[in-house]
Amino acid sequence: MLAEFLQYLFTGITIGATYALIALGFTLIYNASHVINFAQGEFLMIGGMATVSLTAMGVPMIIAVVLAVVLAGILGIALQRFAIAPAKQADVVTLIIITIGASIFIRGIAQLVWGKEYHVMQNFSTDQPIEVFGAVLNSQSLWVLGVGAILVVALVLFFTKTLIGKAILATSMNKEAARLVGIRTQMVLMLAFMVSALLGSVAGIVVAPITFTSYDIGIILGLKGFVAAAIGGLGSGVGAVVGGLSLGIVEAMAAGYISSDYKDAVAFSMILLVLFFMPRGLFGAKVVERV
C-alpha cells in the first residue's frame, strides 16, 4: 500500500517538478509583460534537442548543455525583440496568437534541422533505480528535483538581491513608473524572456532522459506548464511551483487510483475546481478593481 502510494508520489513529483519549471517560465514572462507565452514549451524542446544533437556530434556533454542553454536564451531574446515588442498595441488574445505562431515557426525550423525522430539522452548518473520503501525512483528524478530546487533558489536570489531582478519586478508592477525612475523597460522585458528561456531549456535538458525528446515535445509540456501556472495563480512564483507539483501529483494519483483513461480529465477538472473557489488561482494576487 505504502509502496504503491510512494510510487505514485515519486512519479507525480518528478513530472510535477518539470511542470513547475515551465510554469515558472510562464510566470516570469507574464509578470514582466502580461503575455501568456504559448511558445514556452519550445524553449524546453530547444534545450533537449540541441543538447542531444550536439552530443551526437561529439561535443562533450557539459559544453553541449551550455551551448543549448545559450541557444535558448538567444531565442528568448529574439522572440521578445522580433515578435512581442513590435506588436505594441496588440490585444491580449492577439499576443497569444503571435506566440502560437512563433511556436509553430520554431517547431517547423527544429523539424527541418533535427528531423522528426525521438531521441534518447542518457541519465546524468546511474541507470540503476533507487529503492525507497519498496517504491523505485529513477536517479534522474533526483536530478530534476535538485536542479529544479537550485533554479528556484537562484530565481529568488535573482529577484531579491540583484539590480536586474529588482528592475524586472519593478517593471512588472508599473511599467510607466519604472521607466520614470530610469529603468530601460524594453531591456528588462528582453531579460525576462531570456531568463524564462534559460529556465525552460534547463528543464528540457534535465527531463529529456526521462521523457525522450523530439521536435514536438514542447506542445504538451508547454500546455501543462500553462495549466500549472494558472492553478497556482498567474504571476506568483510560489504558485507556479505549487501548481506544477500538485498537477503532477494529481495526474499520477489519478492514473494509479482512479482511471488512466480519465487522468487528464481529472487534472483538468481540478483546475476548474480550483478556479471555481479561487478565481485567481491558489496564490494569485487579489485585485480590487478601481473605478
Binding site: 480590487v288 478593481e289 478601481r290 473605478v291
Partner: protein, 252 residues
C-alpha cells in the same frame, strides 16, 4: 419628505485600513447633495458602496427605504440609481450614441426571438431609443458627436456623454463622481447649468467634487469627509462656517 438614500454607520476596510468609517447621512428626494473632502478621504469608496460595487464591511444603505445589502449594481439601477465615474467608464468599442442607448437598457427589454429576426417592434423601440438618446446628447451638450466612435471623442465630451448615459436610464437619483475634473472654466460653467437642469426636473443628484465654487453654488446639502470619517454635514452656509472644515482645508 422621506429620505431617498439613507446611509447608516457605514464601514469599509481594505485589509485593515478603513477607507470609510462610521458614516451616516441621508439624502432627500430632489436635493443636490454633495460629498467633499481632500484626496483619499473616501469619497469614491462611499459612492462605490452606495452603488453596490463594493460590499460594506459594516453598516447599511437604504434606497427608498429598502436595504441594498443583497443587491447587485444592476439591481440598484432597476430601482432608479445610476452614476458616473471619476475614471470614466465609457464603452470605447461603441459609438457615442450607442453608449447613451445602452443607458436605456432597462427600458428596452426585448426577447431573443424578436432580436434575432429583428421584428418590427424591435425596430420601432430602437428608433425611439435612438431619438431619446440623441435628445439627451443634445441636452448635455455633445449632440454633434452622435455616430462618432467613443474612442475618438475629447475628454470633456466623454464626461458629458457619461452623464447622458446615466440620464438615459431615467434614474431617480444620479451619482456624479467628479464630473468637473479636467474641465476648463467654460466647460465647468456649462456643467453647473446642466446639473441644475437635472435637479430642476426632479432628479436627485449626488455629487463628489473638488471644485468648491461649483459645489457651493449648486448644493442643497454637503457632507465633508476626512480620513473616511464625517467631518461635517449641513447646508453650504453651515459648511463654510464650520471651524473643523476650515481647519482641515486651510490649516491642514
Amino acid at each position: 419628505m422621506t429620505a431617498l438614500v439613507e446611509v447608516k454607520g457605514l464601514d469599509k476596510a481594505f485589509g485593515g485600513v478603513h477607507a470609510v468609517e462610521g458614516v451616516s447621512f441621508s439624502v432627500e428626494a430632489g436635493q443636490v447633495y454633495s460629498v467633499i473632502g481632500p484626496n483619499g478621504a473616501g469619497k469614491t469608496t462611499l459612492f462605490n458602496l452606495i452603488t453596490g460595487l463594493y460590499t460594506p464591511t459594516k453598516g447599511e444603505i437604504l434606497l427608498n427605504g429598502e436595504s441594498t445589502a443583497k443587491l447587485e449594481p444592476n439591481e440598484l439601477a432597476e430601482r432608479g440609481m445610476c452614476r458616473t465615474f471619476q475614471q470614466m467608464q465609457i464603452c470605447m468599442n461603441m459609438t457615442a450614441i450607442e453608449n447613451v442607448m445602452l443607458g436605456r437598457h432597462l427600458q428596452l427589454r426585448s426577447s431573443l426571438f424578436t432580436t434575432l429576426f429583428r421584428l418590427p417592434s424591435l425596430r420601432r423601440n430602437e428608433a425611439a431609443a435612438r431619438k431619446r438618446a440623441a435628445e439627451l446628447m443634445e441636452y448635455v451638450g455633445c449632440g454633434e458627436y452622435l455616430d462618432t466612435d467613443a474612442s475618438a471623442m475629447s475628454y470633456g465630451a466623454l464626461k458629458r456623454l457619461e452623464i447622458a448615459r446615466a440620464l438615459a436610464a431615467e434614474p431617480r437619483v444620479i451619482l456624479l463622481d467628479e464630473p468637473a475634473a479636467g474641465l476648463n472654466a467654460v466647460e465647468t460653467a456649462a456643467l453647473e447649468d446642466l446639473i441644475r437642469k437635472i435637479a430642476d426636473q426632479g432628479t436627485t443628484v449626488m455629487l463628489v467634487e473638488h471644485d468648491m465654487k461649483l459645489v457651493m453654488g449648486i448644493s442643497d446639502r454637503l457632507l465633508v469627509l476626512n480620513y473616511g470619517r464625517v467631518l461635517a454635514e449641513g447646508s453650504p452656509e453651515e459648511i463654510r462656517q464650520n471651524p473643523d472644515v476650515i481647519a482641515a482645508y486651510l490649516g491642514g
